[in-house]
């Protein structure tokens, strides 16, 4: 049978999340030099406010219109659960490491005793992005690995 297998709703959901993420990354990459040029700042100084471009990831909220996760069959539910665990695992690792990294950088490199409170929501937001992107990649890998033509 050579017909093309249509994507399952969970695969569409994963691709949608990755596409939204890619759009956010492109918007960020465009925003950094634009903001730097417009406000006469360095690229490094413009990089933090440009992070607001990741607000585009709010479009992930429409993902539930693509895939109703209450209607998944048992294998898809298992794939989704494993992907969520992978996402949460990476989120936690990166979040803890980045919190320690920020503290270490500010205290040792810049001799700053106080960590700016504005960094905390950014770290949580970045962690959320890592969670969703990891989950999406884990979903696609699991579908690929259990495809009939895959030899993994």
């Amino acid at each position: 049978m050579n017909d093309r297998i249509p994507l399952a709703p969970l695969q569409k959901f994963a691709w949608y999340n990755l596409i939204v993420f890619a759009i956010a990354v492109v918007a960020y990459a465009i925003a950094v030099p634009l903001l730097a040029a417009h406000f006469h700042k360095t690229l490094a100084a413009a990089s933090l406010p440009s992070f607001g471009m990741f607000g585009v990831t709010g479009l992930w909220g429409f993902g539930s219109l693509i895939c109703d996760r209450r209607k998944l069959d048992e294998r898809e539910s298992l794939i989704n659960q494993r992907a969520m665990i992978a996402g949460m695992f990476l989120f936690w690792q990166v979040w803890v490491l980045s919190c320690m990294g920020v503290w270490a950088y500010l205290s040792y490199a810049r001799h700053q005793d106080v960590v700016p409170v504005t960094l905390l929501p950014i770290l949580v937001f970045a962690g959320g992005i890592i969670y969703v992107v990891t989950q999406a990649i884990a979903i696609l890998i699991q579908y690929k690995r259990s495809a009939a033509d895959d030899t993994v």
Partner: protein, 74 residues
Amino acid sequence: MTPSEGAQLKNRIRKLRFEHGEMTQQELADRIGAARQTIIALEAGKYAPSLLLAFRLAKAFGVKTEDVFQWDGE
């Protein structure tokens, strides 16, 4: 499911589909309330179904569960 479990659990889903009027994977998936990708994974031996899904598959073909699945482990 580990690869060794997949190797031990054999099934005749593909054969049974063709014996039942060349039923398509999508038709079978619709009958048992699963996704087509799940049927593909089952036929490839890359997914071991729950007991409930195994019974649903057997019922869809009108046969016993052991006519669909065979376990060749020790």
